[in-house]
Structures are given as C-alpha cells and as structure tokens.
C-alpha cells in the first residue's frame, strides 16, 4: 500500500515542479515568475519528500528529509522576498 501512495505523492510533487517551471518561463513579469517558482517548488519538494519518507525505513532518514524541506522552504521564502524587494523601484525610499 505504501508503494502506490509514495508514487502518487512523488508524482504530484513532480507536477508542481513542472507547473512552477512553466510559470517561470511563461509569466509576464518578475513578481509573477517569482510567485510561480517559490510557491510551486516548495510544495513540490514537500510532496516529493513526503513520498520518499514513506519508503524510508528509518526515523532518522525521515527527520533528515523533514529538515531538508524546512531549510529549503526557509531559503526559498527569504530569497524570493529579497529578489522581489531588490527589483522594486525605489525613488521614495528614505536614505539611512
């Protein structure tokens, strides 16, 4: 039972990666592209990690997968925000 379920989760994750990549290539401006990339990929990685975790026989491996997902989520969220902020036009930003 775990086999097909894992395959379904990984498959769903791959679909989200695919959707994120299509969005990155097709969306009109930087903010829309960032939206597609960071959100879809984060969910895709979570689904793939969940699918692989079902196949892992060891709790430690599952913990590592979870940690990888959390770190990737943190990095994607931060990098996405920083890129979006750097791209924002800033004529009125107060000088430090």
């Amino acid at each position: 039972m775990t086999g097909p379920l894992a395959a379904a989760l990984v498959g769903a994750g791959v679909l989200f990666f695919l959707a994120g990549t299509v969005g990155l290539l097709r969306f009109p401006d930087l903010h829309a592209r960032l939206h597609a990339l960071t959100k879809a990929d984060t969910l895709g990685l979570g689904l793939v990690a969940a699918g692989v975790a079902l196949l892992a026989g060891d709790v430690l491996v599952v913990a590592r997968l979870l940690l990888i997902w959390l770190l990737a989520m943190l990095a994607a969220a931060t990098a996405g925000q920083l890129i979006a902020r750097a791209a924002r036009p800033r004529p009125r930003e107060p000088r430090p």
Binding site: L71, L74, T78, L82, R85, P96
Partner: protein, 303 residues
C-alpha cells in the same frame, strides 16, 4: 529507467555547459555555469563519488559562481566576450587528453590504484578512502592546495589602494534592523555551523572533509556579515591573519613531525587518526576564513 535518468542528466549538463560558453551576456553565462555545476555534482552522486559531489556543489557551483558574479561588475549589461580560436583549441585539447587518460586508467594491467588505496586504509588514519588519499597518500598535494588558496587571497588584497591596505574589508549591504535579511542572518548560522562542523568531523569515515565543511562555514560567516550581524574584519589584524595560516601551518607541523618517523607527511603509527582529525579541523577553519574573505574582496572605502 535509471540509465535513462543518467543519460538525461549527462546530456543536460553538456547542453548547459555549451549554453554557458555560447551565452550572449556575461550574467547569463555565469547563471548557466552555476546550473551546470549543480548538474555535474548530481552526476558525481550517480557515480558514487559523494565527496566530489559535495565539493563541486559547494565550491564549483556555489562559491565560484558568487566570485564570478562579483568579479563582473554590471554583469547583466555587458555582452560576453567573443569566443577565440586559441583558448577553445587549448581547452578542447586538454579535455581530449584527460579523456584519454581516464580511459587508460580502466585498461591499466594488474591491480588498480583503488585496490591499493583500500588495502592500506588501516594505516592511513581515515576510513574514508577519499580523505585517506587527500591527507595521507597525497598529503603534499593537499598541503600545497591550501597554500595556493592563501596566495590567492593575498593577490586579491593586493588590489586594494595604498591607503586602504590592512583596512577593514567591506561587506556592507543596506540592512534594515529586524528586517528579512537580518532575521535570516540570525536564523541560519546556528544550523550551518553545526552542519559545517559535522561535515569536517564525518570526513574521516564518510563523505565530507575540510573543503566541504569549510565552504559551509564560510557561507555562514558571509551571511552573518551581509546581514550585518557581525562586522567585517580588518584585513590587517593579527588575529585574522593567524586564522588564515593556522590550517596550513598545522598541516606543515604535522608533516614535519612525520619526518621523525621516516617520511614527510607520514603520520606516526598510532597517531594517524588524531593527526588527520586535527589537520582537518585546522584546515577547515583556515579554508572557511580564506574563502569568505575572497568573496568579500579587497579592503576599500565605502562601496
């Protein structure tokens, strides 16, 4: 199925490499080069060379990519330099020679070097054959590599203007206190420091080591500097310079100790493992400091 995956991976890496060389803008060339490095490190994983994969991902793709992005000011605007015949010919000839050499290794008669390396592992001070090769069998090469890193940093520092020599390195970004980058710079370094130290420690028996762990440590220091959590160091301070040479100096001292037992870089019997670990940790600290300061660049007044 996995053969299909390997073919796709190899062809994608090849395509990315070609695209990087042929890219029209410098920025695109660098971005493609970084993606190429990530795929190459996946190829190393597929070949079971996890040590090399870690080094390729951390140094080949990550650190070299950052260095190139910094070295090409206005990289997004400038057109890439045109391909010239002579460099292409030299690169192609080198690649061809390497391919012939690699193909020749497989045909060598008798026992391969791999078998001999595994046979002597007990005396090398490391259960990880890659670490054994780096620190025991080929200690000289690795020692000189770490010295080369230091020389590269001296060359970068030498670009500083006369008045700024020895002054503080500049890693200042505009960072809002309690902003996003500031929080990230506080959140990630604890995790990264543990990961880096673990990579160095585990290098004696599993994939990892001074270069891989050192790069992670360097990234954490850089992040802390960029997020304004710690100040960039003065390049003239004795403490920083000591930090930079500590690893190679420890390596050299351990190597000289070996001469008392017969050969340079030959570890005394019974002390192989402590010697390897001490050198690994010393090297990791110096490599981390050198790589981080290479990215920060020469000291200069207000960027």
């Amino acid at each position: 199925m996995s053969a299909l995956f390997d073919w796709l991976l190899a062809l994608s890496a090849l395509a990315l490499g070609l695209a990087s060389v042929a890219a029209r803008s410098r920025f695109a060339a660098i971005a493609l080069f970084i993606a190429y490095g990530v795929l190459v490190s996946l190829l190393w994983v597929r070949m079971g060379a996890v040590d090399v994969a870690l080094a390729e991902a951390a140094i080949g793709a990550g650190l070299t990519g950052v260095l190139m992005l910094q070295a090409a000011p206005g990289a997004s605007a400038g057109p890439a330099p045109r391909l010239r015949a002579l460099p292409v010919a030299v690169a192609a000839a080198t690649a061809a020679a390497l391919m012939v050499a690699v193909a020749d290794i497989g045909r060598a008669p008798g026992e391969t070097l791999g078998a001999r390396a595994m046979a002597e592992l007990g005396r090398a001070g490391a259960d990880n054959p890659v670490t054994a090769v780096l620190l025991s069998y080929r200690g000289w090469d690795t020692f000189l590599e770490t010295v080369v890193l230091g020389v590269a940093l001296v060359a970068v520092w030498a670009l500083a203007a006369e008045a700024q020599w020895g002054g503080p390195a500049t890693a200042r970004q505009r960072v809002r206190p309690a902003g996003l980058l500031s929080t990230f710079g506080r959140l990630l370094p604890p995790v990264g420091l543990v990961t880096g130290a673990y990579l160095v420690w585990t290098g004696a028996s599993a994939p990892g080591g001074a270069f891989q762990g050192g790069t992670v440590l360097a990234a954490m220091w850089l992040l802390a500097m960029m997020a304004d959590r710690v100040a960039a160091p003065a390049t003239g301070s004795a403490a920083i310079r000591l930090l930079l040479v500590a690893g190679p100096a420890l390596f050299l001292a351990a190597g000289l100790l070996g001469t008392a037992f017969g050969t340079m870089f030959g570890w005394p019997p019974g002390f192989e493992k402590p010697a390897v670990l001490a050198v690994e940790f010393g090297l990791a600290v110096s490599i981390a400091a050198t790589l981080a300061l290479l990215v920060v660049g020469p000291p200069q007044l207000g960027r």
